[in-house]
Symmetry: C2
Subunit: 297 residues, 2 copies
């Protein structure tokens, strides 16, 4: 199976799983409908679902079936969706369009968008802590600890903070790399490590997936920055040229377009190379590295 087919079929699974969780009938208390509606609006109906497919495919290397990784993948996607809702807020990136739709604070209001993000972040941990996600409490605990670290102040939220601080400043290349490793890299790397946790991977397999996730995260961000310069707003479902308008620190500004493209190619090769020990079992993950580096949206 090619990666493009795999991501499509997994996206359908994730959409269904998110929809099941976000109807609000699974917990002991029914959530208020206004908030639940905003959370569904934020999470359903779009998105590449890249992180969930990485999690599921990394777990599959160790024989974990997709349905046994689906809850963890759903939780991870909830965290990704929360980050988009908060990043789009007027006080943050002030975006009007996301996945071709009005952002949550415009479709609802700002207060509801803040709470919808909070709710999506929180439900991720609720999902991971539920015994249905994995029968072994120690595995659930590792998934939670890893996600909290990847999403929190020393991960994604910290990266967003660095990004806001950087506006209008000229960062050194290593500062940009740190920012991006936290803001985008941490959650993508976690997707791969979570697969290793579910698969009870040994140290060497674990390290290989850590490397793969780290490099893939770098490639993802660099491709994203390139698309912002060279991409098509229609295909992307969001504005282009935003980084430049906002004075954002990107590697393209620091390295130049040609060197940035060459680095992306190197990263793709490095990601593919990190999977060598898994042989043909990792074919889809190799496809993911190509997809991430060469995507047009």
């Amino acid at each position: 199976m090619r990666f493009s087919d795999k991501i499509t079929s997994t996206a359908a699974l994730i959409e269904q799983s998110l929809s099941d969780y976000l109807t609000g009938t699974r917990g002991p208390v029914a959530p208020p409908e206004q908030l639940a509606g905003a959370m569904r609006y934020a999470a359903l109906g779009g998105g590449k679902r890249l992180r969930p497919v990485l999690l599921i495919e990394c777990a599959a290397l160790f024989g974990v079936r997709a349905e046994n990784a689906l809850d963890a993948a759903t939780a991870l996607e909830c965290v990704h969706c929360y980050s988009l809702v908060h990043d789009d807020l007027p006080a943050m990136d002030d975006d009007a369009l996301r996945r071709g739709q009005a952002t949550v604070h415009l479709a609802y209001d700002e207060a509801t968008a803040i709470l919808a993000g909070d709710g999506l972040l929180t439900i991720a941990f609720e999902i991971l802590a539920t015994p249905q996600t994995h029968s072994d409490a120690a595995v659930r605990g590792e998934l939670i600890l890893g996600l909290a670290r990847a999403a929190g102040w020393a991960g994604m939220a910290g990266g967003q903070s660095l990004d806001l601080e950087a506006e209008g400043k000229t960062l050194r290349v290593e500062e940009i790399r740190r920012l991006q490793a936290l803001k985008t890299g941490a959650l993508i790397q976690y997707a791969c490590v979570a697969g290793a946790i579910l698969g009870r991977a040994d140290g060497d397999d674990w390290s290989a997936l850590e490397t793969y996730g780290r490099v893939l995260g770098q490639a993802f961000q660099l491709a994203d920055d390139l698309l912002d310069v060279t991409g098509d707003a229609g295909k992307l479902g969001k504005k282009t040229g935003k980084d430049d308008d906002a004075g954002k620190a990107t590697l393209i500004a620091a390295l130049g377009l040609d060197e940035a493209k060459a680095e992306l190619e190197r990263l793709e090769g490095e990601a593919v190379a990190s999977l060598e020990r898994f042989g043909s079992r990792a074919e889809i993950l190799r496809g993911a590295a190509r997809f991430v580096s060469r995507r047009e949206h």
Copy 2:
């Protein structure tokens, strides 16, 4: 020991524990300093620390030492502090003063306040998932599941959403009770249930603490609403008369001042009565019920 002494000594423990966690030296990656500073500003140097003391005292009923409940109590307080930061935002309650200090979005900026709240919520789950918090992964998992439910869309965040929806509307008494049970009640009840989790309480003890926590939460909110009408802004460290100005739904508006005071007295009695089975071991928790109902700030 009287409750007022206990809450003072526990507050000092919690302050130290929060300070230890929020220096950012415990995790594998250092957090960006701007965000870490805002999180410390939001969490340190004030607050009654009511929820942590409830957690620690409920756990103590079962012989759990304070130092073995401290990490869970710290995590809970992080969630409480996150909720204050987000509730104070301009898009929410738009408050300028909290614990006698400028609110986080004024001391820093709005984006940093949103991220500081996100960071505090996330670190709570990181703390709870750390083996140091409890040696049994199943206990950690129960603590996490309970906290996520109490804080999330069908708990505190849901209550805040209902509260925003209610502005300018006249709610029925049962609607106000539901709103308050989610917004304030869920986290206070969780504090007590978390003590039962740490203490591995049996069904009857567990139910008694569930009842105690639920009633105490109701009393806390009613006392809070009364203070907003009759309290002293200097002692409170925040504005009074806010509910009326904002057209907020409170039980005082629905029941009248005298009936609200009578209900608070009834709730205090009910909270004390729910502790009967614990005998003299629950003296401090009885004091907590009196403290919550009769506090002046």
